[in-house]
């Protein structure tokens, strides 16, 4: 459903993403991993239309650059790494913004289907009781859950996540990834996420792509990609030895 062919993003002379190709099909959770500065976030920004790129990014055979912003938002939803709200919006107002791409016109009110989607997103993320709470009173984990509910209300077919649990504690990390896994069970959906935690990638991903210096080092099914050889090459260290050393602390 989503494919990139020879995607390149340049910042001056620097090739932040260098000739990367990928495919994402329904039911897949593609984990994008690699060291800092590998070009992972830049690649997903290019898919979301945030940075210009060369090459081709296609949605079911159609160049996504030809899609209007609202058309793109109905297909691809993005959850950023860190979200903050400066004004005292309610949780429900922020989640309701997820329905923006479905507005028929500026005089149209919220449709019945739209309201249902918002209700479902609030219920799925456990925010129904907090619906009238001010965003300024929420913790970091709750705020991230609100934006996940927003993207659920947006009802896209592909969910793109940029290190969504990066600053969350363990409980919220597990909660967030479980919610996304439940969302993925509906037919015709797929997830693409940038992750630093390789254990989370192994636990939830079906496919993986390793990047370094803007290039794709390896891509395919998770078990084939996240091997010691590939990981050592990408991270330029003995990853398995490090992880075993960390695990040994608990034994």
């Amino acid at each position: 459903m989503l494919a990139g062919n020879h995607v390149t993003v340049r910042y001056g002379d620097l090739r932040a993403v260098d000739d990367v190709s990928f495919r994402l099909e329904a039911g897949q959770w593609l984990m994008l991993a690699g060291p800092n500065g590998a070009g992972k976030s830049t690649l997903i920004e290019a898919i979301a239309g945030g940075v210009p790129c060369t090459g081709l990014i296609e949605w079911e055979g159609q160049d996504i650059r030809r899609l209007k912003p609202a058309q793109l938002a109905r297909r691809i939803g993005v959850l950023s790494q860190r979200n903050t709200v400066g004004y005292a919006y309610t949780v429900e107002e922020i989640v309701g913004l997820g329905r923006y791409a479905y507005r028929a016109g500026f005089l149209s009110g919220g449709s019945g289907e739209g309201r249902e989607q918002v209700e479902r997103a609030l219920a799925m993320t456990g925010l129904t009781e907090l619906r009238r709470a001010s965003m300024l009173t929420l913790s970091g984990g709750e705020t991230q859950r609100v934006f996940l509910a927003q993207v659920f209300a947006q009802d896209p077919r592909v969910l793109i996540l940029d290190e969504p649990a990066n600053h969350l504690d363990l409980k919220y990390q597990q909660h967030l990834f479980s919610l996304i896994q439940t969302w993925l069970k509906e037919p015709g959906r797929a997830v693409l996420s940038v992750v630093h935690d390789l254990s989370l990638a192994r636990r939830y991903g079906t496919h993986a792509m390793l990047m370094n210096h803007g290039k794709c080092i390896s891509r395919g099914e998770i078990g084939d990609v996240m091997t010691p050889d590939h990981l050592n090459q990408v991270y330029e260290m003995d990853v398995y030895a490090w992880m075993q050393e960390m695990l040994a602390q608990w034994n």
Partner: protein, 347 residues
């Protein structure tokens, strides 16, 4: 715990709008009644009512003061206040910056420079002597806005509050010196240009009220139409793009509209500072940050505030009339400091 965090907005109903409208109407009538000549409330209502329906006005009523001096002024003040406050609310949402406003960002100063240059150079449009000043003010307002945002962006890509305010202050100081320079070297008849730096509604007429009304109807309509997009921008530009907002198109449309509206206001009354900064905050306290409620509430709040500011300017040291910008700046500067400290504390 969740109950404690719930916002109590259910009290804000259409009745609240009706109350704001009633407060505006009462303020307008009061501003017509009070001045160097006190006019009874009943006389004001009778004169305006009869004039509206083409009925004869009794001889004992000070018809000239009510209909030719105070009413056009009150209309211009209310319309300018509403327009400036609406522009402030739109800019604060668009830039996600509670200190954004025509005066803090130097847009009003830019518009004033345009007006002063047009007047000093005698620039007019065919068929409308006044149109030249207005068009130049609008063009300079837009140019200033683009310049300030570009400079702030070059300094800090996140367009942080402090960067925009810093550039705005520097830009305003620069423009003020240019205006002073023009006034110093301009001929005697243009010395009255001084009022553009302080603001005044003295001598305004129904034509100008009509221009303001038309500008507010068109530009205000455009801004109100963008309420959902402003909500998205107020949450964050990146998030706005992700939910499907055409970020570049919407941003440009709002900036042009705001510049036109500020340009029209400045060409009529000069720079009236801080209305657009303070009033959206008051409105936000009343109705919350959702722009579908905030924008209309800002319209009313701005109109009412400027009417009272103008009344103070006319009556505080009567018979001497203070420039209205002096009153709004005194109130606004204090509010600015409070808001700035609260913003900094909130991080």
């Amino acid at each position: 715990m969740n109950e404690a965090r719930a916002l109590k907005r259910e009290r804000f109903t259409p009745l609240t709008y009706a109350m704001l409208a009633a407060a505006l109407l009462l303020s307008m009538i009061l501003c017509v009644c009070v001045g160097s000549v006190q006019i009874p409330f009943s006389d004001t209502v009778t004169a305006v009512w009869n004039a509206l329906w083409g009925l004869p006005i009794p001889q004992n009523i000070a018809k000239n003061i009510i209909l030719n001096v105070r009413l056009p002024r009150v209309l211009c003040v209310a319309l300018s206040g509403a327009a400036l406050s609406l522009c402030g609310a739109a800019m604060q949402g668009l830039l996600r910056n509670p200190l954004a406003d025509g005066s803090t960002m130097g847009v009003s100063s830019g518009a004033a420079l345009g007006a002063v240059i047009a007047m000093a150079a005698g620039f007019t449009l065919p068929g409308s002597g006044y149109g030249g000043i207005m068009v130049t003010a609008m063009a300079f307002a837009f140019g200033s806005l683009v310049m300030i945002l570009s400079l702030a962006y070059a300094l800090d890509r996140s367009l942080a509050t402090s960067s925009i305010i810093l550039i705005g202050v520097i830009f305003t100081m620069f423009i003020s010196s240019v205006i002073s320079l023009i006034i110093t070297f301009a001929s005697d008849h243009t010395r009255s240009l001084n009022f553009w730096t302080l603001g005044s509604f003295s001598g305004v007429n129904y034509d100008q009220a009509g221009i303001l009304c038309a500008a507010l109807a068109v530009c205000g309509g455009v801004i109100l139409r963008f309420a959902p997009e402003l909500n998205a921008f107020a949450v964050g530009e990146e998030n706005a793009r992700h939910i499907g907002v055409n970020v570049k198109k919407v941003k440009m449309s709002i900036l042009v509209t705001v510049s036109v509206l500020i340009g029209v206001c400045v060409s009529i009354s000069g720079t009236v500072s801080f209305v657009g900064l303070v009033m959206p905050h008051i409105a936000r306290m009343l109705v919350g940050p959702n722009h579908s409620r905030l924008l209309p509430a800002s319209l009313f709040a701005g109109a009412i505030f400027l009417l009272w500011a103008d009344l103070t300017a006319r009556t505080l040291l009567s018979p001497v009339e203070l420039p209205i910008g002096v009153v709004t700046s005194l109130v606004g500067a204090v509010a600015f400091v409070i808001i700035f400290y609260r913003t900094r504390k909130a991080g």
